[in-house]
Amino acid sequence: MRINRWLPWVYAAPMMLFVGVIFAYPIVSLLHYSLSVPGAADQPAAAGLGNYGYVLSDPLFHTALLNNLELFLCVPVMLALSVILSAILFDRPRGWRVYRTMLFIPYILSIPTVGFVFGYIFQYQGALNAILRMSGMGFLAADWLGSPAWAMRTIMFVIIWKELGFGVILCLARLVSVSEEYFESARVDGAGWWQILWHVTIPQLAPALAFYGIVELINMLSWVFAYVYVMTLGGPMNSTVVTEYYIYQQVFTNDIVGVGSAAGVVLLSIVSVLIAMRIWMQRRLAAGGFE
């Protein structure tokens, strides 16, 4: 289209204004706050790198980062399950559309709804323990969300439960776009279901899995606030504090904006590393590195 060369800017301007106010300005201010806003009262150097020193030596921040790291363990589980479930759906068993609809429902439900409902199921006097006791396995009953040993694992279960449908849909969309010939020729060669899965399906899914894996890693760092806020509020005994929740508490409960901002910058840097990884993986995939 032949047009005035300023015209594209005119069309994009409103979007850029919004993005400037909501993304650019806050990211710059965050760096500024982390360096210049006085931090906690018990902290010797009020400004400069003091906030970073405070954050990096705060045991609670270490707990938070370790909890995010533990959440990363959800990702391989999600990847494995979405490969298997999408491969089964791709065989088109009778009623596969209905299965697909049902498997995706957790992704549609809101985190508060899911969090509270599972909260009641996992209560010490809740439904899960009631079933365990009735079936003679009472020794397995635990305080799933109320004990530091289990709370994080229970949250992980709920996260996997909720995010799995997304992976299944992604993988299925990818499989549908793969030429049927690959599967047909493997079948003609007499390959069994697991052999096809390993030698055909998984290699063909590599791009979808790489995408899903990185998206979920980033989610485990920067989108888990709602789960913690709804199910445990960081407890019991801070065992489920994640980085987002740590920042939220420092800024909105303890009112130490400088420290919260410094933690925010740390979180932002970790996410940036993951994005760099994503770009690198995409290049490798484009270059056929996984073939």
Partner: protein
């Protein structure tokens, strides 16, 4: 080997294969049924308990209601909060999705169809912003909003939601717009249509289902959002449904069936939207992955 032996062997192999296939079919359905049941567990739990009285829940937590009652569902609604929070959520969702989709469409137009030299750079920037954690943005935005005295207003939250969704919606619309044939646009231009008229009369009508997809995916996100709603709408009367549910939950903690009834009411709108517009959900959520 005589030919009859070959035939026999074939037959054996064939029957073994069909038996294996039958086993495969059964186990496939077993896996699917198990995972589907697990996926529906919270909806099941909400539904069966929303029709029980408080006394029944103590002894029967997971079974179907033995003495079903509608009173639990009506008393959850009679609280009034739910209704009010839903209206607030509806207002915030509709307004921010409308703004965000409109601005995204305007921006995606030059990026995808105008041979804009800066287009790819702008797009790259937006893709990088997709992964910025909201909590990081909220600290400075909160300070800013407080300093200009705009905390606890719907328009503040609507602007924040619209802005946060823009990188994703612009990116998605750009990839949808790119599939429109350039010759079609050239033809309209040669017929004397202005750039704006091409946008209104060619690009938008051709992208109706793409716009629908983007709007639905965004609605899902805004409707279910928690953090921004918690921080920026602290006034009782302004709570959105998601924050309202946390209040509802603590208000009725001792009466689990009422809590479940409330959650069920709150779940109905999104699940209905999903069942009706499933293909838009799936398209919108997978489009990002296919295009990379």
């Amino acid at each position: 080997m005589v030919s009859s032996d070959v035939a026999l062997m074939d037959e054996v192999m064939e029957s073994r294969r069909t038996r294996r296939r039958a086993v495969g079919r059964v186990s496939r359905h077993a896996v699917m049924i198990a995972f589907s049941a697990l996926a529906l567990l919270p909806i099941y739990f909400m539904t069966v308990n929303a029709f029980k009285a408080r006394s029944e829940y103590t002894s029967n937590k997971l079974g179907l209601p033995l003495h079903p009652t509608l009173k639990t569902m009506t008393s959850a609604l009679a609280d009034g909060g739910l209704y009010h929070w839903m209206l607030n959520s509806l207002l915030v969702t509709v307004a921010s999705v409308a703004i965000s989709t409109a601005l995204a469409a305007l921006a995606a137009y030059p990026i995808s169809l105008m041979r804009w030299r800066m287009g790819p750079l702008v797009l790259g920037g937006l893709i990088a912003l997709l992964v910025v954690p909201p909590i990081v943005l909220i600290i400075p935005i909160f300070e800013m909003v407080v300093s200009i005295d705009q905390l606890n207003t719907f328009h503040t939250v609507i602007i924040i939601y619209s802005g946060i969704m823009l990188p994703f919606s612009t990116f998605l619309l750009t990839s949808f717009f790119s599939t429109i044939s350039p010759t079609l646009i050239e033809a309209a231009r040669i017929d004397g249509a202005s750039v704006w008229r091409v946008f209104i009369e060619v690009v938008l009508p051709l992208s109706a289902s793409a716009l629908m997809t983007v709007a639905i995916v965004q609605s899902l996100w805004v409707w279910n959002e928690v953090l921004i709603a918690v921080v920026f709408l602290q006034d009782q009367g302004l709570r959105t449904l998601m924050v309202g549910l946390t209040i509802f939950n603590s208000r009725y903690r001792v009466d689990v069936p009422v809590v479940m009834a409330g959650m069920l009411w709150a779940t109905v709108p999104m699940v209905t939207l999903y069942l009706v517009g499933q293909r838009f959900f799936i398209r919108g959520l997978t489009a990002g992955a296919v295009k990379g």
